[in-house]
Symmetry: none
Subunit: 225 residues, 2 copies
């Protein structure tokens, strides 16, 4: 999953970013002010935006307003200082999805981030199921009929992303965009390679063809529901 952190205080921004990378394994970009944030959002499709209210150039509130005006539905988690809580209601009405007051517990931020991403994709439970396949987003594990399947972190992320929209074709490009951040420069067959490995493991565990290739279009999960 790809997340944008909008925060001008470098230390805090890095802190949050690292937490989101290490814990749930998100790809994270950092924007330092409101205009920056909008640029990033037009350049990439994020699964979540973590937005500080007090940022230079454009206020957090304004950022949300412009995003929503542009029909961007990405979930927004707002960070406010205690003194700003008065505006909060206002902000939620303007299109934010959740808020936390600083200082906050990083663990809780991660928990809410996960929940928001799920909700943004129309899923309410932390357990993704498709056929006999189960993905536990909390502990980042996968099982098939109760038996655990061992995946590398990247393989897990790919599968998780697909599991949010089973049966739907997902392009390689989309996978790249959502699994890596902007610091990524490589253009090779990374995705193909990992999908290949993932497919092999899934085939071994399920004894069926679950991960289908649609030539020139992408991949999708198939199978009887």
């Amino acid at each position: 999953m790809r997340v944008l952190v909008v925060e001008d205080e470098t230390r805090l921004a890095e802190n949050i970013a690292d937490g989101l990378r290490e814990g749930p394994g998100f790809a994270v970009d950092i924007a330092r002010d409101g205009e920056d944030a909008l640029h990033f959002c037009s350049a990439a499709d994020y699964d979540l935006i973590v937005l500080d209210l007090m940022i230079p150039r454009l206020s957090g509130a304004e950022v949300v307003r412009q995003l929503r005006a542009a029909r961007n539905r990405t979930p927004v988690l707002v960070l406010t200082a205690v003194s700003e809580t008065g505006n909060t209601i206002h902000l939620l009405n303007a299109g934010a999805d959740d808020y936390m007051t600083k200082p906050f517990d990083l663990g809780e931020l991660i928990a809410r981030a996960r929940a928001l991403i799920r909700r943004g994709k129309g899923v309410s439970e932390p357990l993704l199921r498709f056929g006999d396949l189960e993905v536990h987003t909390g502990e980042q594990s996968v099982s098939h009929g109760g038996r655990k399947i061992e995946l590398s972190p990247i393989e897990y992320r790919i599968l998780e992303y697909l599991m949010f929209r089973p049966r739907l074709v997902i392009s390689k490009r989309e996978l790249l965009e959502h699994l890596y951040d902007f610091t990524w420069e490589h253009h090779s067959n990374v995705i193909e390679a990992h999908v290949s490995n993932l497919r092999k493991k899934l085939r071994a565990a399920t004894e069926a063809e679950v991960l289908e290739t649609l030539r020139g279009r992408g991949y999708r999960l198939v199978g009887r529901a």
Copy 2:
């Protein structure tokens, strides 16, 4: 978060209160004696109580006793002078959760306060058990099947922290955050080193692999319950 500081020495009380307000941003009330403290506690639901032992009207020990008798599970952090340490053990067994001897470092008090709060409203049992492993939070000692395991202070705190949520993956970041005070600039492998030593001691004592590493995610305690 709401914290009650029980301390009759005004200067010290204000000092602690300010530290808790500025650092982690807690809301802090101050009670000047034991009865005061109990009144405050019946009027509000605190997340933590910082309690001096030597206070007028009702001793700290008595305060804890009455609180627990009234089914109040708020974590209690006790402050003692060195000469009183003899009573401390009793106090911890009576339901206090942690203690520090005066004079103490304000940063460390904050760190411990946060740790206590995050451990939440779980029962303040002085004994943590997981499998054959027992952690006596009172005397800060560890034993395995009745045989004591000698740990250094830091090793103990790491183990204790893990024992509060056995089987759950705890990241290095979280350990750092909870065991050291918040301003931690340099990143090194302190945690890895201590975990390494701790694991060695645990392995020697239990003759089993208790402390598991999840690469890139963290550590967790495993084993049959």
